[in-house]
């Protein structure tokens, strides 16, 4: 891993790392990534990947009845918002006017 990689991944993850953080994370992430290379010792030819443990590969999860349910009300939902108004979440302007 290089410093450029760290900055690129931070950008993908929407993290604005300081220069000091980049310098600190680089050797740490590099050491972890070197360690996980260990997995290459394992032959995984024709081994199915496992994404969940609840259901056997051939089984599909049971679906609930398609019925409307009441969720959280608007007020309860907005109470934790950093900024809201008119019953909506407020975000910085994303569309510029001419």
């Amino acid at each position: 891993m290089t410093e450029k990689d760290v900055r690129y991944v931070a950008e993908l993850a929407h993290l604005e790392l300081t220069d000091a953080e980049v310098q600190r994370f680089l050797p740490q992430l590099d050491a972890i990534l070197k360690y996980v290379q260990k997995l290459n010792e394992v032959d995984t030819t024709r081994i199915e990947p496992m994404a969940q443990v609840t259901f056997a590969e051939t089984q599909s999860p049971p679906l609930r009845a398609d019925q409307a349910r009441t969720g959280l009300g608007r007020e309860e939902t907005l109470v934790n918002a950093p900024e809201h108004g008119g019953g909506c979440f407020k975000v910085p302007k994303v569309i510029e006017r001419e």
Partner: protein, 494 residues
């Protein structure tokens, strides 16, 4: 009268039934002890005295009116601060959620309250449950009540320490890669992670969804069994919760363990620290003395578990934590240029170093060009690790291992080396990957000064919690917690 804070559920409810105490008296004894003892241990992020008092008074009114004791009537419970309780702050020990008030309760919490439990407060943990020492809390570290210079383990360190320090009778924690079992071992208490799907995750703040569990801590196996019976079972609000009947775990505890076949996986003992190996070997001898047949067994993919786990959990975390963007809840950076800048500044300000590190690692593992080499590969190895266990449980009824390869370490000792911190999870991440249940029980202690708790882990096949608990109970009854030859643990006070 016996000190109320040192009792187990059974003894406590005996007193309640005979009207020798009241729920309010029990609660006040605990709140007083929290005030004194927790100023050293720092288990609690917030104490919900008012709410608990209402619950205590409601319980006392119920009992006065001739109501029967519910399973957790009058039991003071502490809850890890990643499990939502309606109306209480839920910080996940993060600056990101410092001002977040839970709009609903986790199903496990609702069930505890319906069973008569009184919620004492929310406990400290590693930020977003990421860590093995509770030092990653954005607020303060929790200390191990057995030795205040050492960590309580993590991530559910606050819950484990509260139970060990008698500030709570039982507690809820969450376990993604060992976050209940390892702090239970470090603090000398019992901690259980059920089968994936045994306990609803509804209301547990998501870290790695295919690995997250809620589970109980207590000072005895019987109390853990009681709490598990209350919180387990199908929940329509968590589609991964299993529709499998919940046995009365407590009623099944007395079943004989004679003739059970116990596997000892050799991979878990290679190069093991002698401080841990001694007590665990004595523990295994005790199981033999109880009539169990102990056989060596192999779990050949064990050495790949840490690499596999840290790729999968970070990948899932990078996706789950994308929601903290300063829009719907949590922190928003005060100054920014535009929307994208607001996301970035908010996330950089709100998350601590370990959370950022894991998001970075997970984002990298999922990024274009690396997905197959890291994430997909890890998922394939997860299949192999799971197969190891399934094959093992064709031959044996349960497995016995150390819970942690090391005793509780000093605060600050491992903070600058994340990889070393990850490697300490080696014996707990395997069960998480396979989705099988595990329990950590006290098993003697180290010879140091002061002596430190050692934990023994018992693992069983999917949905075989009853077996785990029977073994753990037989072990406890035979004196396993205080294995012969171990020095005495320092008192944690009353």
């Amino acid at each position: 009268m016996t000190e109320l804070t040192t009792l187990g559920i059974h003894a406590l409810q005996d007193l309640l039934a005979r009207r020798q105490t009241s729920a309010e008296e029990i609660l006040r004894a605990h709140l007083d002890w929290v005030e004194r003892r927790d100023s050293e241990v720092h288990s609690f992020l917030a104490v919900s005295a008012e709410r608990a008092l209402q619950q205590a008074r409601a319980a006392d009114r119920r009992l006065a009116a001739g109501g029967a004791l519910r399973p957790l009537e009058g039991v003071p419970v502490a809850v890890k601060d990643v499990i939502l309780i309606r109306g209480l702050a839920n910080t996940c020990a993060s600056k990101m959620l410092e001002n977040y008030i839970a709009p609903y309760s986790a199903t496990a919490v609702e069930r505890l309250e319906e069973a008569g439990g009184m919620i004492l407060g929310k406990t400290n943990c590693d930020e977003f449950a990421m860590g093995s020492s509770t030092e990653n809390s954005a607020f303060f570290p929790t200390r191990n009540p057995r030795d205040l210079t050492r960590v309580p383990g993590g991530s559910s360190g606050g819950s484990a320490a509260a139970v060990a320090a008698n500030t709570a009778m039982v507690a809820l924690g969450s376990d993604t890669g060992g976050s209940i079992r390892q702090p239970a071992a470090f603090c000398g208490v019992v901690g259980l992670m059920g089968t994936y799907g045994r306990v609803s995750r509804y209301g547990l703040v998501a870290f790695a969804s295919s690995l997250d569990h809620i589970g109980p801590f207590a000072r005895s196996v019987r109390d853990v069994a009681r709490v598990l019976s209350v919180i387990a079972g199908r929940d329509p609000l968590d589609s991964t919760s299993a529709d499998i009947p919940v046995p009365d775990y407590e009623a099944g505890l007395e079943e004989s363990v004679k003739g059970l076949k116990i596997g000892v996986p050799e991979e878990y003992f290679k190069g093991l620290n002698a401080e841990i190996a001694g007590p665990i070997e004595n523990g295994i001898k005790l199981l033999c003395a109880l009539g169990c047949e102990v056989v060596p067994i192999r779990l050949p993919h064990t050495e790949y578990a840490i690499a596999c786990y840290y790729l999968i959990c970070t990948a899932e975390a990078s996706s789950n934590l994308a929601r903290y963007d300063g829009v719907r809840y949590g922190l928003r950076a005060p100054e920014y240029a535009d929307l994208r800048d607001m996301y970035k500044k908010t996330r950089n300000r709100g998350f601590g170093a370990e959370v950022k590190r894991r998001i970075m690692l997970g984002t990298y593992a999922l990024s274009s060009g690396y997905y197959d080499a890291y994430y997909l590969k890890a998922q394939q190895v997860r299949t192999l690790i799971t197969r190891d266990f399934i094959e093992a449980f064709d031959e044996v009824d349960a497995l016995v291992t150390p819970t942690s390869p090391i005793p509780p370490f000093k605060l600050g000792e491992r903070l600058d080396d994340p990889l070393q911190m990850y490697l300490a999870d080696i014996y707990t991440v395997t069960a998480s990957l396979a989705g099988i249940p595990g329990i950590s029980v006290p098993c003697g202690r180290t010879r140091g000064n002061p002596p430190l708790p050692v934990g023994m882990q018992i693992l069983a096949g999917h949905f075989d919690e009853a077996r785990l608990l029977q073994l753990a109970y037989a072990f406890e009854k035979a004196g396993g917690f205080e294995i012969a030859g171990s020095p005495n643990l320092p008192h944690t006070g009353t």
